[in-house]
């Protein structure tokens, strides 16, 4: 019952928001907010109820089924939460722009489709919701026009490629096992050889890999995330790419199952180790590409690819620690990446669309709340203790160490260093340093924009200190997927995993901060200097030099920029360009001379008769 009602509310909300918008903008805004808030409440209220029921029997001879289990609920709450926050944020962000009703319609539809994906009990409805999500997202990415059109097209073309691969994968399963219901498939899946299963998994991985921006299928993401409207970037980066992760977990663990999964190997590598290595590459390179970006949203986009790398790395190991870490990190990343995108969105909103890191600065004085929240989000992204990001990364590191993979661990570690660099660059260039003259009279972000930021920030800190709450939700999932759940306490982990108590760390940190404050208080008070009152070699520094953001990591950039190119993207672009040329060449067969056309007809006839005459094959 629960899932059906939730989906009905979500889809009806999306459908109604458009006609309501034609009546009155205010009613529509209230309605959209109410629906998305209601969804959070409904999901929270029904959380944990498990069930399975047919909601549409006989779609092309197949039954469509809704199913709820621990995994579905975990993703559902993430989706509805981030979805709700982005709707609240949108209230001001899109006000006064064109096609606002359409925007809400598409945004609510994306959220509804994602809920549909996680509640699907069979692969056909999974696929249908997946496609609805894809095209609705394509419309939203294109919303900003201009360069966004290219981004949207790139996104949807890659996504169609992915869904074609997925369709082949899921229908191969159907052809082999005569059902698409996940629970029935899970029982029958072992009856075919591992080669078949490997093929199906690879097909699914292409689909999920494209959606979750796994390297080397990530190339749509930097464009799409940076060009989409910021609240939707939060949805994209926060939850939409996580649907790929959901798909991976569903197919690898719920469908294929642990035992078969570990036995899947090609000639000399196993399936999950390939995933792990792809994850590690996804941590390393994109993270450092992110460091080079000067566009705030592009930086965050590349960082998303890197963080997805962590999740895939944790998930690929097929151990309970790794999976727990991956799932927890999925949630964390959704929260802090949504927060960061929304923060950038707030800045973008107030500065009139500026997100070039070289032109911002000093906004801490104008937007203190936004800065504080972005700081929390950034720290979470790095994985500083007392944020939830620390706990999930700790679990992933622990997995790497326990499984004995020094290279992968090194990759993860280097990725974290890179994260420190780009988070610092982002926060510094936007909020710290000198405030440019033109932003001197900027107002703070409006309340509806600050609210989602504060909510996200609080979640990060709360779950950082009390990681037992989300881990309590992750435990049953890991259990239901056939692994031993990690023993977690409210404040961390018991001795079986390696003791970790966040409350004691919190106490220690609080003491340290207190001590620093005391020391600072005891030392001499700093003297404030006016901005123009600074000199170099005796002459005043020109105003343009105050802001040290251009070429932020100059030596590092100089050393790495030659290597850190998006090879995959260049390759795809070249292939697409070549294909385009080829297509144009091919069109020349329609020469315009009707005698050539008649010749084609005669040739086919002659060919048919000739083949039969010579070989008698027909």
């Amino acid at each position: 019952m629960g899932a059906g009602a939730i989906l009905t509310v979500a889809l009806a909300g999306a459908g109604l928001s458009y006609p309501l918008g034609l009546l009155s903008a205010k009613v529509r805004n209230v309605f959209a907010t109410a629906v998305s808030a209601l969804l959070v409440c409904l999901v929270a209220a029904a959380y944990g109820r498990s069930g399975e029921h047919v909601y549409y029997s006989g779609f092309l001879g197949l039954d469509l089924i809704l199913r709820t289990d621990a995994l579905a609920w975990f993703f559902a709450i993430t989706v509805s939460l981030v979805g709700c926050l982005s709707v609240v944020f949108s209230l001001r962000y899109v006000r006064g722009r064109e096609k606002v009703s359409f925007y809400y319609f598409a945004l609510l539809l994306v959220n509804a489709a994602m809920l549909g994906i996680v509640f699907s009990g069979d692969l056909l409805s999974f696929f249908i919701f997946w496609e609805v999500m894809s095209w609705a997202a394509y419309l939203l990415i294109s919303y900003n026009r201009g360069r966004a059109l290219y981004a949207g097209l790139k996104y949807i073309v890659m996504s169609i490629i992915g869904s074609c691969a997925m369709l082949v994968g899921l229908l191969s399963l159907y052809a082999a096992h005569d059902t698409l219901v996940i629970s029935e498939l899970a029982e029958r899946i072992g009856s075919r050889g591992t080669g078949f299963l490997l093929g199906v998994l690879v097909a699914f991985s292409i689909g999920f890999g494209i959606k979750s921006a796994m390297v080397p299928l990530h190339t749509w993401l930097p464009d799409a995330h940076s060009e989409a409207p910021s609240p939707f970037s939060a949805v994209l980066s926060g939850i939409l790419i996580k649907m790929g992760i959901y798909g991976f977990v569903l197919v690898m663990y719920a469908l294929v199952g642990l035992k078969l999964l570990l036995g899947l190997r090609g000639a000399w590598v196993s399936f999950n180790s390939v995933l792990c290595w792809l994850g590690a590459i996804g941590i390393l390179i994109p993270t450092f590409i992110a460091v080079l970006q000067t566009d705030a949203k592009r930086l965050l986009a590349w960082s998303s690819i890197g963080q997805i790398g962590y999740i895939i790395l944790g998930m690929g190991f097929a151990t309970s620690l790794g999976l727990t870490g991956a799932l927890f990190h999925t949630f964390n990343h959704a929260v802090f990446k949504a927060l960061l995108f929304l923060a950038v969105g707030a800045v973008e909103y107030r500065t009139g669309g500026v997100r070039d890191l070289n032109e911002l600065g000093g906004l801490i004085k104008r937007m203190p709340v936004t800065f504080a929240c972005a700081l929390v989000g950034g720290l979470g992204l790095i994985g500083v203790p007392l944020t939830s990001g620390f706990v999930s990364k700790w679990l992933i590191y622990k997995t790497l160490i326990a499984e004995g993979h020094p290279f992968l661990a090194l990759a993860a570690l280097v990725g974290t260093w890179g994260a420190i660099l780009y988070v610092y660059k982002l926060l510094h260039n936007m909020f710290l340093g000198q405030l440019p003259e033109k932003y001197a009279h900027l107002e703070a972000a409006p309340f509806t924009m600050r609210l989602p930021l504060v909510v996200c920030g609080s979640i990060i800190i709360l779950f950082g200190i009390l990681p037992g709450i989300p881990l309590g939700a992750v435990g049953p999932i890991v259990g239901s997927l056939g692994l031993e759940p990690v023993q977690a306490t409210l404040t961390g982990f018991g001795p079986q995993v390696g003791p970790l108590n966040m409350v004691s760390i919190f106490a220690a940190a609080a003491l340290a901060v207190l001590a620093v404050l005391l020391v600072l208080r005891a030392s001499a008070a700093p003297r404030r200097v006016a901005q123009e009152d600074s000199y170099a070699a005796g002459s005043p520094v020109p105003a343009g030099r105050y802001h040290h953001t251009v070429r932020f990591y100059d030596p590092l950039e100089g050393a790495t920029i030659g290597y850190l190119r998006d090879w995959a993207d260049e390759f795809y672009t070249r292939v697409a360009g070549g294909a385009r040329g080829g297509f144009d060449g091919l069109r020349r067969i329609y020469t315009g001379d009707v005698r050539n056309y008649v010749m084609y007809i005669v040739c086919l006839l002659a060919f048919l008769i000739f083949v039969q005459m010579v070989w008698h094959i027909w």
Binding site: E131, W135, C164, V168, A175, Y590, I601, W618
Partner: protein, 493 residues
Amino acid sequence: MVSPILLIAVPLGLAFITPLLGLARKGAPRYVPAVAMLFNLLVSVSLLPDALRAPIVVRTAGWAPPFSIHLVAGPLGLLLSSLIALIGLLVAVYGMDYIREGATTRYHVLSILILVGATGVVLTGDVFNLFVFFEILCISSYALVAYWGDSASVEAGAKYLIQGAIGSSFVLIGIGLLYGAFGALSMADIAANVSSVSSFRLFVSLAFLITGFGVEAAVFPLNAWLPDAHSSAPSSISAILSGIAIKAGIYAVARVVYTIYGAQSILPFVALLSVATLLIGEMCAFSQNDIKRLLAYSSIGQMGLIVFGLAMASATGVSAALFVVISHALAKALLFLASGYMILRTGSREVSSLNGMGTRMPLTSLCFTVGAFSLVGLPPFVGFASKFMIVRAALETADTFFVVLLAIALIGTVIEGAYFLRIVQGLYFKPAPQQAREETRKEPPLSALVPVGVLAALIVAVGLYPGLVERALGAAANDLLDRDSYVQNVMGD
């Protein structure tokens, strides 16, 4: 129970009294096609349930098959004739206001004749009548392609005519060879006597018939007339040509291959041709700058998909192909009709002239988007359901050959997605050309909005409830595949 023969006789009669009506009242002819097709739609749909149980065989002049000229209104025939009547009705309503210039009376007569020809093709049980109805279809479409009389449409009409005439000659040679071999023209009678095509003489007749009918069916490499003709015809006629006429061609090919010859051995080659058709259609459409030409090339691509399904020779494959026939007829008719008024308003067929249409013609653009999404195969539109069935059928054959072809065909789908979604972006997210910006919103008249809206609603409805047509599809596929029961039904005991 009404006789299926009325499906042909009534519109044919109406077509011939249309000019007289025109003499009596000036405005009368433009309503005739709609009346004729409404009649056909009602009759076909009312006959369909009976036909699903057993085909209705109509004998003319009291002679029993194989000697008589007879109609076989089986599930396949009636399904297609319902589709023809439906699309025909909507296009006829559209044509009431769309066709204002030129010889309008003749336009309406010819548009009925195209549809009568197509209905006759799908209902006849006699191979020579198949040819005759086919010619009615072709000749009226040659004339209608050239309707506007400008250089492009006249050129397209002439080229189409030359290729079509060659095709017809081939068909006639094939029929002659068949008659020489069996002394019969009834498809069922011939089918009862053909056991294999391996005899060279029989195969030659098959080759002639496939090539001849294949010209109209737009299979590569016989489809060079299609982009010219579909793009130069009036948009309403493009909708009929793309939605109906090429389907009649493919029906004829399928009947010949399956029912008359039972030539399963040639199907792998047909599958190869189909994938080539699909890829070439989509590739040519990709960088096309003329919206109607783009739609025409996309029709070629979809025909490839249909033939691919038919070539699987399995019940699921054929019913999937028939489902694509329906979904493509709905979507492509919608796209041509919607783009018709867009082109009329902007006066240009360039794809870029559609930019910003979302604000100028919001309802039309919305329907256009629905059609485009359906063709790309996105749920919850009907194109998804049909594409899903094709993929399922291909994988269920468990034949590496078909799976490889499927993978290639899916590349075509990706290309199709790229160019259609680019157009959709243009509709909504690109600024309108400079001169069009001052224009206020102006939707087409109701006579165009209604058909376009009905088509969009059907696309969504059948997409959500494929059960609406599923049963008929299965029976129709069986009609095509099961030669023995076809022969038995027609010939009597």
